[in-house]
Symmetry: C2
Subunit: 183 residues, 2 copies
Amino acid sequence: MRRSSEDTKALILRAAREHFAADGYDRATIRAIAATAGIDPSMVIRYFGSKERLFATAADIDLRLPDLGEVPRDQVGNALAAHLVDRWGDGDVLPILLRTAVTNEGAADRMRTVFAGQLAPLIIKLVDDPSEAPARAGLAATQALGFALCRHVLALPPVLAMSREETIAWLGPTFQRYLAGPR
Amino acid sequence: MRRSSEDTKALILRAAREHFAADGYDRATIRAIAATAGIDPSMVIRYFGSKERLFATAADIDLRLPDLGEVPRDQVGNALAAHLVDRWGDGDVLPILLRTAVTNEGAADRMRTVFAGQLAPLIIKLVDDPSEAPARAGLAATQALGFALCRHVLALPPVLAMSREETIAWLGPTFQRYLAGPR
DNA sequence: GAGCGATGTCAACACTTGTTGGCAAACAGA
DNA sequence: TCTGTTTGCCAACAAGTGTTGACATCGCTC
């Protein structure tokens, strides 16, 4: 079959995200990605240069965090918890980062970048004392990533069983304290 | 050199834990483990049968959780937080499980087992309504594993910078609410 | 010392990996 | 139609993997 170059690139990227999310960086082979995309493995290299660069492109991720500045100050915790359940549940976004950042140093770097570039700036606007912002953002990250890990990667049964409302009711206050609570 | 069979087995196991913790299951090669142990790769197979079985032995892990039943009810949160910082910091225990459980399905299984076998029973003794125990244990796991992940695997700077006292002050109340707080 | 099992090394196997170069077919412009 | 570029496939390479079997060497028992 014959396609436009951009179409196949998109095809490969989608297959790559799928495999990286499911198997992590090492186990996701170029051959498997190419097979899913219905394409020869050599095309992957031709279009992306190397596996490392393919991953870098596939993992260039937007967490699509909400603007917590527009939420009432006493509701930011619930808002973040709700976002965590709603937006990070379906897509491959978080599993990609979690599965790969854990074994691939480059991906861990990317994780730190995503964290510093997308989560931290959001927090700064909320905190009175800017010097506290990094620690508070870090704390929020531990709970957010821990939840995503247990639910979408480890699939711990009780965490998997929690409804949207339960999750918000339990995690909301935690985020609220980390983000806007007293020291 | 010549040793007792048990000595070399122990030597291999220690090297294996080291590499599994640092590199995850896939990247930790038998050759590298053998090199660290100062031994021929074939010995690893001879003593443990296969890489999979070596891992199963190396990952047979005791979290050494404290008996929360002996702690004052309003202090269990702090106690768990303190344990998290003190005991899970140095050893290879948690990094092994985190780095491997994420890409290795067998390890994820083991993680669920460790979780169900060691953490959950501890919680049951604390909770009034036993039907709530699994959810509460799951919540505690999200925060505990999330913290370990951010601190020891991802090495997020602000989380890395937190002192023992800060950590307990922030995480203690979270655990307290998850374990013994109101719904 | 002779025999023997335990301990260890070496070389090789079958396989998978990322990656490369050559070649065929489809398209676009002249 | 001729030419050059794009898109694709195929076969192969070099490197690294887990694993295996043949051979050496130590230490013990008779």
